[in-house]
Symmetry: C2
C-alpha cells in the first residue's frame, strides 16, 4: 500500500466554506489536488492508496482507494467531498472515524496521531532536498509520504517527522507543489524496475 | 525551452461558460491543470516554459512563462484567464495572436498550425506506452510534448504527430492524466544528470 499524509495548516475544520473560493478556504484547492494526484490515473483509480488530509491539526479526512467512490479529477468536486465529511464533524467522537461517503472518513485526530496511524502500515519516507536521489535508491514496499501544504512544516512537526522517518529521499532539484511531488513519487514507485530492464 | 501542447477536443471556443462547472465546460478543468503543472513550482514559475491549449481545433491559448503574470495554482482562476482570452476572440484575426493578459495570448489556429509553431523551436517528443523508457534515454534540449485531454488523439492527429515526432518516450507503465504526465516529464528533465552523480 502507498500512503500520503498531507498537512493543511490553514485548512477549514467546519463545512461553512464556499466551493467558489477554495484558495480562500485555507488553500483547500492545494489539498484537493493532492487527493486526486494520489488516487487517480487516466480513467482509473489507484486502489492500493490511502490519502489523509490533516485539517488544522484537529480533524483528518481519509480517502481510501480500495473502497472510494465518486472522486472526480476536478478540485471543486473533491472539495465537496471534504465539505460533506466536515458536515459530520459532530458525529466524529473520540478517535472513532465516521464514514461520510463511500471510501471517505472523518476522524478527530491531529498530525501526530494521524501519522502514527499511517506509520503502523508502512515505512515513512521523508521528502527532502538533501535526501538520497530517488533514482539511486529502491523505494520501500509500503511507503508513507508526508507532505505539507503551501507552508513549511512547523518546528514541532519537523521534529516528530524526523523521529519517525525511516528514509530521506529527494525527488529532484526543483521545489515542487505537494500534488506534483505525489505524482513524481508515484512514478518513482511505478517505474522501479525500469532500471533493471 | 520546454513546450507543452495540449489538445482540448471538447474545449470551449467562446467565453460563455461558467467557472462553477469546469468539467461541464468541455473538461476545461483538465486543461487548466495542465497549464499549472507545466508552469508552476512551489512559490515559483518556470520561465523557460510555453504551454499551448488547442481549443476544439479552432483557437489556441498560449501561456508564456517568460512574461506570464497572474497565474495561480487553482483551476478556477486559470480558467478565468482562458475565459478572458476567449473574450477577445473577435480581435484574433487571421493568424496574428492577441495578448489578452500578461503572458497569455489567443490565436485563431488549430492543432496542426499550432504544432508547426511549437516545433519550430524544439524537438517533438511523443509520449507513448511503447516508447523508450524515459530513464534510459537523454531528453532533448528543447522538447515539445504533445498531449491530449480525456479523449484519445483522433486518427488525423495521430498521423500528423507520427510524422513530426522525433522521439518516442514512455514515462512509465501506468496511464496518467495529462497534467500528471507533464509533471513527470518535467522531473525527467530536471533530474537528468542524477544518473551521473
Amino acid at each position: 500500500m502507498r500512503q500520503f499524509l498531507v498537512v493543511g495548516h490553514d485548512a477549514p475544520t467546519t463545512a461553512d466554506f464556499s466551493l467558489d473560493d477554495l484558495p480562500g478556504a485555507g488553500r483547500l484547492d492545494a489539498l484537493c489536488r493532492c487527493v486526486t494526484s494520489a488516487l487517480l490515473l487516466s480513467h482509473d483509480i489507484r486502489k492500493d492508496v490511502r490519502v489523509r488530509l490533516v485539517l488544522n491539526d484537529q480533524f483528518t479526512v481519509m480517502f481510501d482507494g480500495s473502497t472510494l467512490q465518486g472522486l472526480n479529477p476536478d478540485e471543486r468536486s473533491t472539495a465537496a467531498l471534504v465539505r460533506t465529511a466536515l458536515d459530520e464533524r459532530e458525529e466524529a467522537i473520540g478517535h472513532i472515524p465516521v464514514e461520510t461517503s463511500p471510501g471517505v472518513s472523518l476522524v478527530r485526530k491531529g498530525f501526530e496521531a494521524t501519522l502514527d496511524d499511517a506509520e503502523r502500515d508502512g515505512t515513512v519516507v521523508q521528502l527532502h532536498g538533501e535526501g538520497t536521489p530517488a533514482i539511486e535508491t529502491e523505494p520501500p514496499a509500503d511507503p508513507v509520504f508526508v507532505l505539507s501544504d503551501h507552508r513549511n512544516f512547523t518546528e514541532e512537526e519537523t521534529s516528530f517527522l524526523n523521529d519517525v522517518a525511516d528514509k530521506r529521499v529527494s525527488l529532484g532539484p526543483r521545489r515542487l507543489h505537494g500534488n506534483q511531488a505525489i505524482t513524481v513519487a508515484h512514478n518513482w514507485l511505478d517505474t522501479d524496475g525500469f532500471a533493471h530492464y
